[in-house]
């Protein structure tokens, strides 16, 4: 009797196991048949941030970009599509440091999307944790269009890629922990690419220390700081303040007395004043992208930095100018 009961129990267990296996197979098949959850809707201000977000997020992110690539980052006005995209976003990524203050505060206020408001996991400020240059000790409009948190053009620092990627990666994991494995793997691959690129750029720039540059706007301070380039002056009188004839005359005089500088300008600022300074001093003009999309070859952040290093290397004199 007992033997019979044991035999029945074994048969029941086998049947249960078979049913479980079938159920597992069915569920697995169902899981493959079901579409994946919708990708995260991400709005990025700069194309630089969009590129890095796509690199980390892969097909788990659907990225919209506010800037196109050739704008003065401080002067963009919001468009209806920006507002609509912000209202639907799961994640919003910005540089911060008041770089995008002409457009972001208004969009954030009016989009009414609580998921991406400051303090929420969907709000990504990539300059957090970044040591900004030129943080003013005294805030005054006498110094032009000053940014209270420091120079905001951190996206042009050669080391910024790793920093921006780390902040974006950490937030994506927080917003969608179910995709952590995918994000981790893609992030690690990106970090490897960035490290390789950094080594490449360091090699290109190994002799740049002490070379002189003149800028139109203080966009390339981080770039110059990374390699010891000396900023001889800026064509703008103060940040955001157009040059005056007196200022240009003074700058031209300085550049003539201490020759050898190249003029770095961005697509938006490559204007008559730049040409005048170049004409009167003989200095080369180097137009550099100030964000991804600013020029051909700058579609990705690494591609943009490759382009910047290549153009600066081609423009700088082969030997340090006499000082």
């Amino acid at each position: 009797m007992i033997h019979m009961h044991n035999s029945l129990a074994i048969r029941i267990r086998r049947a249960a196991s078979a049913i479980s296996c079938l159920a597992l197979v069915a569920l697995t098949g169902l899981a493959h048949a079901l579409p994946a959850a919708d990708p995260l809707k991400v709005v990025c201000t700069l194309p630089d941030l969009a590129d890095i977000t796509r690199e980390i997020g892969g097909d788990r992110v659907d990225v919209t970009t506010i800037y196109k690539g050739k704008e003065n980052t401080h002067a963009l006005m919001g468009k209806p599509s920006h507002l609509v995209a912000m209202s639907r976003a799961d994640v919003f990524v910005q540089v911060g440091l008041s770089l995008e203050s002409s457009v972001v505060p208004g969009l954030l206020e009016n989009c009414r999307n609580n998921r991406i408001q400051p303090g929420k996991t969907g709000f990504v400020n990539v300059s957090e944790g970044w040591s900004a240059l030129a943080v003013p000790t005294v805030l005054s409009r006498k110094d032009g269009d000053v940014h209270p948190q420091g120079n905001p053009h951190m996206n042009l620092a050669p080391s910024a890629g790793q920093h921006m990627a780390s902040v974006i990666h950490a937030h994506l994991v927080l917003v969608e922990p179910g995709s952590k494995l995918v994000f981790d793997q893609r992030y690690a691959a990106l970090v490897k690419k960035l490290d390789d690129a950094s080594a490449r750029w360091a090699l290109v720039a190994k002799d740049w220390k002490g070379r002189k540059i003149v800028v139109y706007h203080k966009e390339f301070d981080y770039f110059a700081d990374a390699y010891g380039l000396v900023i001889q002056g800026s064509i703008e009188t103060k940040p955001g303040i157009p040059p005056t004839p007196n200022h240009l005359a003074s700058l031209i005089d300085t550049m003539k007395r201490e020759p050898g500088a190249v003029i770095l300008t961005a697509p938006w600022s490559n204007n008559d004043n730049v040409e005048q300074v170049a004409r009167e001093t003989g200095a080369k003009i180097v137009e550099l992208p100030n964000m991804c999309g600013g020029t051909s070859g700058a579609e990705t952040w690494i591609g943009m930095m490759d382009t910047i290093h290549k153009r600066v290397a081609e423009a700088l004199p082969t030997a340090p100018a006499a000082r």
């Binding site: 196109k68 690539g69 050739k70 704008e71 003065n72 002067a75 963009l76 006005m77 919001g78 468009k79 209806p80 599509s81 507002l83 609509v84 209202s87 639907r88 910005q94 911060g96 008041s98 770089l99 995008e100 203050s101 002409s102 505060p105 208004g106 969009l107 954030l108 206020e109 009016n110 009414r112 400051p118 303090g119 929420k120 709000f123 400020n125 300059s127 957090e128 944790g129 805030l139 409009r141 032009g144 269009d145 000053v146 209270p148 948190q149 790793q162 920093h163 990627a165 780390s166 902040v167 950490a170 690690a188 970090v191 490290d195 955001g240 303040i241 157009p242 697509p267 938006w268 204007n271």
Partner: protein, 415 residues
Amino acid sequence: MSTFIVQRALALAAFSPAVLAQGPVFQTPGMTSVPSNYSVPGSSNDSGQANRFSNVFNPAFSFVVDSLVDSIHNSGASEDGERIELRSLEFAAQSWVDPSAWAYFVAVADEENVAIEEAAVHYTGLGGNHTLRAGRFFIDFGKQMQTHVHELRTIRRPLALRTFLGDEVKGDGLQWDSWTSVSDETAVRWSIGAFSNLLPESVKDIDPETQAAQSIADRKHAEDFNFTARLTAFTDVGQNGVLQLGTSARVLPRFAYTFEPSGDAAEDLDNTVFGLDATYGWSDDSGLKSWTFGGEYVLDTGDTYSTIGDAGTPGDPTDDSVDVISDELNGFYIFADYAWDKSNSVGLQYSQVESPEAGTPDVSETEAYYTHLFSEFHRLRVAASGQNREDGEDSTRFAIQYTVFVGAHGHGVNW
């Protein structure tokens, strides 16, 4: 690997209390977000309690100085001459009240008066994209009536708006507005408002020449409040353009017109002004060079105009009567504005209004201007305008406007 660890550490550091890092909407440049004299909790001079003398929650302040030098030459009997004036000094403050409401006020002083032009609360706690606004504020009509005069592209508000609505129209009331998206590139916004009184200041007071005044009763039934409504859609046009279309209305269901010397009054008058506006803006890839074209058609309906009839003894105002004209009058303005860089722009605006009385001339006004921005907060404008009447009573005005903006500054969405 070490780089990876460093980046992870930085990423974790990034989750310290988040900051907007764009400068908040209400920020007074020149002031740190936490004043340097803010006593550190636990320090010897700190009670550990915020009190009536704590200034850390002070609002963001700003002021605007708008000055004008002009020269007017008339072909008729009106007064000519030059003038230098402080057109207005505007003082404003704004701050969040709690997580769902922010408040602001704008006080304006000119050579004669100090007035609270706006003082209102925006409540955003209704959910969705709804906003409730309460207090005193400019009406939501077209693209220009919400704007203070010194912020306009031109020296004065367009003739059609001045004539049918007034230089500035503010009211004490409530407004509910909301917006929704209808596609990836298009947003639609609407607003409705109810106000106690929407007569412009320029016609509420007694006119010194005619001794006539318009008035709206202080207390009234709800249906007799003054109302506004606006519906507008704006959409991307290609990569570089934005088109906005809108329609607006201001409704005065009941008001009176009184002639002081005789005491004669026309009551139970009503008036509605409709507007249709269109604006197209285009900017190049840098965002610095731009074209803006726009215009608005304005239709004034109902009891549109009042005159004083010299009834009884000729020349004796004490027996004169008020005559009200009910008609449909229309007007419009169009403009084109071109900015060739961040600092310089030129523009041309033309406006025309229909005269209320048969046999009297229509009026048109043309203004050409050049605006130079020394910086975002410092502006010089040179303008020439001509007003032409069909009866030849023309006038010409040359003006230099010099305006500075000090303090809190922000960019909202331009609806």
